[in-house]
């Protein structure tokens, strides 16, 4: 009774801070000396509350020191001190913090509150930290409350709200207060108001607070619905839940006997074998379920085994009971408001997710575009199938890795790696064109095979040099992190950088092909090498340069891809099929087609992944199937060349 009274008083005191300056902290401690010396969780609570409510600034110091085992009692006169261990005893300060000399170890009792009491103290301290003069401490307190909210935090938080001066912190406190209110307040009107007060907020913390309010459990009941239950919906067996699930609910609630499992029936039958027969049925005939049921029923009738539910009994039991989904939250008004709020949020979040998905799709598309743009030159313009294109991407990525071994400044190393990767793969491409591809221009299928042979060899050489484990290619720090629009929509800076790089390549390609002498000559040689040669263009040289260029761009793409993917010898082969698909779907010989193809494939893959998020393998499968079908209807891709340029 006394405790109840005390806690009522305390609640009043906390609710009206500043009005009840009854006692100083020292007085309270002195009055409860025995309790403070040997505290128990149950009895000390009023004292701590009293301290917290005293309004005495010393109280915060005392509580903090107490929790940290920094409070001591002098045995001689029972005075409390803030104590600190020294080499030969204790350094003492009185409770206001003024020096109070030293004491020998034996003169002081160190107060050691147990974990439960420390928890109470910590809660009481919340209100002090919430109104701490240092804004950083107040912000930290808010973060810690938000991470692990408790009902006990609500009152101190409200109390500190009035005195908050920093507008940003005040807004934070206000939001947190409403989040706590909607979860912990006892007044349903206040909770509904808190829920509705959030309006169009999309915060994850709000959803995390609202979702538990709508948690449901399934219950079975006989006759009418149990009173006081906040029913989400009534379940009809057969429509909303299967008969088996319904019966399991009954069994779990102890309203029906468990159904006999096959194993239990088997064990029961085995235990009752008499003279090679069970319940009059010979053992040899027990090879069907019907015979086993017959035998079990006979045993049941004889009372040898416990009764078990048959199918008919199960159906009857299910029909005799009602089933419902019931909210764990008893207040119907609150659940209705929470449901309405969550529905509104879900709609907005859906829109945001679509936007996020679109961003994802664009970034995936730019990766595919980057991987495919070199192919758009070698395959699209020159019609040379280069199966080793993926290995050029890999070479670029490994070049980046090797450069980082020598240059530890990541920004600088990327700046060095990009042109170096271009140079390396350009040289490899030129060498390959001169040595192999030049001899096979008239035999495209064999180009495919020969370049594939090179691809096998390059992959294995990379494996021999760098090993099979993934090598890191680290992005500079300024590419870390993500551009966050809100809790739903965000995109990492690396992906933005890749998008920008892809766009730069697009512009570069357009400029090169349409505005330079080299581009003019490339187009001339592609259309008609003989005529181009008679105009003074050297087709051999142009073919070599074009192929080198396509390979070089693959190298740069390799550095970019290596920044977010693992650099292994299989890096290239992961992209080669998709790259070819991009070029083929887009339409050979047209850079805009490649762009369209990359966007189609990127969007498609992300879309399918969204429909079936658990399974990216399925997404790739369906995407390839879609592409195969797509080629049925547009065999020449999205943007098909017409007329003479289309060749064959």
């Amino acid at each position: 009774m006394r405790q109840l009274f005390l806690s009522l008083v305390t609640a009043l005191l906390v609710a009206l801070p500043g009005l009840a300056l009854a006692q100083s902290a020292v007085d309270i401690l002195d009055a409860n000396r025995a309790l403070v010396e040997k505290p128990t969780r149950a009895k000390i609570a009023p004292v701590i509350s009293e301290l917290a409510a005293s309004g005495d600034p010393v109280a915060a110091t005392v509580l903090a020191a107490w929790a940290e085992k920094g409070l001591g009692l002098r045995k001689a006169d029972g005075t409390f001190f803030l104590i600190e261990k020294t080499a030969d005893g204790w350094a003492l300060r009185d409770l206001t913090g003024a020096e109070a000399g030293v004491a020998a170890s034996s003169d002081i009792v160190e107060l050691r509150p147990n974990a439960g009491v420390r928890g109470l103290i910590a809660t009481a301290l919340v209100q002090f930290t919430l109104s701490d003069p240092d804004p950083a401490k107040r912000a930290a307190a808010l973060v810690s409350i938000a991470r692990d909210p408790e009902a006990a935090h609500l009152e101190p938080l409200r109390a500190s709200l009035a005195t908050e001066v920093d507008p940003a912190l005040k807004a934070q406190k206000d939001r947190l207060e409403r989040l706590l209110t909607l979860r912990f307040d006892t007044d349903s009107a206040a909770r509904v108001a808190a829920i509705e007060g959030f309006g169009s907020d999309l915060g994850l913390d709000l959803r995390a607070a609202l979702n538990p309010l709508l948690a449901t459990s399934r219950v079975a009941y006989a006759g009418d619905l149990p009173g006081g239950a906040n029913v989400a919906r009534v379940l009809v067996p057969g429509a909303d839940l299967s008969e088996a699930e319904a019966y399991d609910l009954l069994v779990a609630a102890g309203m029906a006997p468990a159904r006999l499992t096959v194993e239990e029936a088997r064990a029961a039958l085995l235990a009752n074998v008499v003279d090679g027969a069970v319940g009059g049925v010979p053992v040899a005939e027990l090879g069907t379920q019907a015979a086993r049921d017959r035998a079990y029923t006979a045993l049941e009738a004889a009372g040898a085994v416990p009764a078990a539910a048959t199918d008919a009994e199960v159906a009857a039991a299910v029909a005799a009971h009602g089933f419902a989904e019931v909210y764990a939250e008893p207040d119907a008004q609150v659940t209705a408001a929470a449901k309405a709020a969550l529905d509104g949020i879900a709609l907005k979040v859906g829109a945001m997710q679509t936007a996020d998905l679109a961003l994802d799709a664009v970034s995936l598309a730019s990766i595919y575009f980057l991987a495919a743009i070199g192919l758009a030159i070698t395959f699209g313009v020159m019609r040379v199938i280069n199966m080793a294109h993926g290995e050029f991407i890999m070479m670029g990525a490994y070049t980046g890795y090797v450069v980082q071994l020598f240059i530890t400044n990541y920004t600088l190393s990327i700046l060095v790696a990009l042109p170096l990767a271009f140079a390396v793969t350009f040289a490899a491409g030129v060498a390959m064109e001169r040595l192999v591809i030049r001899h096979l221009y008239k035999r495209p299928l064999e180009t495919l095979l020969a370049t594939f042979g090179i691809s096998i060899a390059l992959q294995q050489i990379a494996k021999n040099i760098f090993g099979t484990q993934a090598r890191p290619l680290t992005a500079p720090a300024w590419l870390d992190g993500a551009l966050t629009f809100n809790d739903v929509v965000s995109i990492s800076y690396i992906r933005i950088a890749i998008f920008v790089l892809a766009m730069l390549f697009l512009l570069f390609f357009l400029w090169l092909m349409k505005r330079t002498r080299l581009g003019l000559e490339v187009r001339a040689v592609t259309q008609n090498p003989t005529m181009a040669a008679s105009m003074g263009i050297n087709p051999d040289r142009i073919n070599m340069l074009t192929f080198g260029l396509g390979s070089g761009i693959a190298g740069i793409a390799g550095v970019a891809i290596g920044l977010f993917a693992k650099v292994t010898s299989e890096l290239g082969s992961d992209y080669i099929v998709q790259s070819f698909m991009t070029v083929v779907v887009g339409g050979v010989g047209n850079i805009w087609g490649t762009l369209a193809g990359a966007f189609l494939i990127g969007t498609l893959q992300k879309g399918i992944e969204w429909l079936n998020p658990s399974n990216t393998l399925a997404a790739q499968t369906y995407m390839i199937l879609f592409i195969i079908l797509f080629i049925q209807f547009r065999p020449r891709g999205i943007i098909a060349l017409k007329g003479r340029a289309a060749g064959d």
């Binding site: 088997r266 074998v273 299928l445 594939f452 096998i456 698909m581 195969i628 065999p635």
Partner: protein, 416 residues
């Protein structure tokens, strides 16, 4: 002896290579049998007999590849997918029937005769417990029946090839585009099978296929020989069948399609029909080869369908010499045996002083580069060596026309 006209000569007379091939295959089979552990002097280990048996299956699928690529000019990068599908179809029966035996035996120990439901449940848990399922998927509906699964070995890959080929050829996808498309099909199939809910145990694949249901007391020594004989028989039959297919008018048409598809179409032939037939026929042959291969390998998983496998198939045929059936067989046998020798770690390392060439690491480099060299300098492959020998003898024409392939030779002679 009267001079026979060319067209009246018998099939074997026109194709002396068939007799030679059958002869060599028969001698080889006999030799392996005599040297085997089960039926001979135990000179060859059982695992080596299995390797030889598997090699024969690879030769069979290489024959199919040669027909579609060497004769019809369609570079399919999907035939190892049909090969693996055939293996999966037979593997389903092997695994189901074998598991059924084990489950029935285990349940019989329980004292009561097992009910059909218990048996089915036991099999499902045994097979699919590893992917966390306890129900047999619908595609296993026929797995209990040997004959049904045998039919599926032909029907599933054949049906897939028919549908895919119809779609691809109908829209006139040719050349490298078709190659890339078939590669995409293979990749899609492999990715699909990698999923656990594909119903074929995801990346675990099917295992324990070397144990024949109902023959648990037959030793692996004997079983390996049975499969070896089966593979040799299939290869022999396949060789005769394909020789017959390519020797007649049909063969001439598909070679013409390879050389100039447009012209054949203008001559009134249904190019798409011919291609579709060849594509489906070769897919079925590949599937049968796979159904013989995987019981000898003992395990099949989706990695077998990786696009790289189909490309290796093309490599074998190219190195052996495409456009001639024995070339494909030689290439597959030579390269796959050499490959297992090199990657098996038995090839001696080559110390270069500053670096030791370890063939396990460098074999693929050698293979890739020699493949490039063959493509560049010896497009006829190993089979081309036989031409040197043929050239020494002079053509045995007996005044008959030379047939479609050697037309150019006749023109050349006429000019001389």
């Amino acid at each position: 002896m009267t001079r026979q006209s060319f067209t009246e000569r018998s099939f074997l007379a026109k194709n002396p290579s068939v007799l030679w091939f059958i002869l060599i295959l028969a001698v080889f089979t006999l030799g392996v049998t005599v040297l085997s552990e089960a039926y001979g002097v135990a000179f060859l280990s059982t695992s080596f007999v299995k390797t030889l048996g598997k090699t024969l299956c690879l030769c069979l699928v290489a024959l199919a590849m040669d027909l579609i690529w060497g004769y019809a000019g369609i570079l399919s990068l999907g035939h190892m997918a049909f090969f693996a599908l055939g293996g999966y179809m037979l593997g389903m029966w092997l695994m189901y029937a074998r598991t059924e035996e084990i489950v029935v035996a285990a349940l019989a120990q329980g004292g009561l005769p097992a009910t059909p439901e218990e048996v089915r449940q036991g099999i499902a848990v045994q097979i699919f417990g590893v992917v966390g399922a306890s129900e047999l998927p619908a595609i296993w509906a026929f797995a209990h029946s040997f004959w049904a699964q045998m039919a599926l070995v032909v029907l599933v890959p054949g049906g897939l090839a028919l549908v895919f080929g119809w779609l691809a050829f109908r829209s006139r996808v040719t050349g490298v585009y078709l190659s890339i498309l078939t590669q995409a099909m293979t990749l899609a199939l492999a990715l699909y099978l990698f999923q656990n809910d594909s119903g074929l145990r995801g990346n675990n694949g099917l295992s324990g296929l070397q144990n024949l249901p109902g023959l648990s007391d037959a030793s692996q020594d004997a079983v390996s020989m049975w499969f070896f004989w089966g593979s040799a028989l299939a290869l022999g039959l396949g060789y005769v069948l394909l020789s017959w297919v390519v020797s007649g008018k049909f063969g001439s048409v598909i070679r013409a399609i390879r050389d100039d598809e447009q012209r054949v179409r203008f001559l009134g032939y249904s190019v798409e029909g011919y291609k579709l037939f060849v594509f489906t026929l070769t897919a079925v042959i590949a599937a049968i080869a796979g159904a013989l291969y995987y019981p000898q390998a003992g395990i099949i998983n989706p990695a077998e369908l990786a696009p790289i496998a189909s490309i290796y198939l093309a490599v074998w045929v190219a190195i052996g010499g495409r456009g001639r059936l024995y070339g494909a067989v030689i290439g597959a046998a030579f390269v796959s045996l050499l490959s297992s020798w090199f990657t098996g770690g038995r090839a001696p390392s080559v110390p270069l002083g500053f670096y030791t060439v370890n063939w396990v690491d460098w074999w693929l480099v050698l293979l890739g580069l020699s493949f490039v060299l063959v493509t560049l300098f010896a497009p006829k492959g190993i089979g081309g060596l036989f031409d040197l020998w043929q050239g020494l003898r002079g053509p045995d024409r007996k005044g008959a026309p030379l047939g479609p392939d050697d037309g150019a030779l006749m023109e050349k002679e006429a000019r001389e």
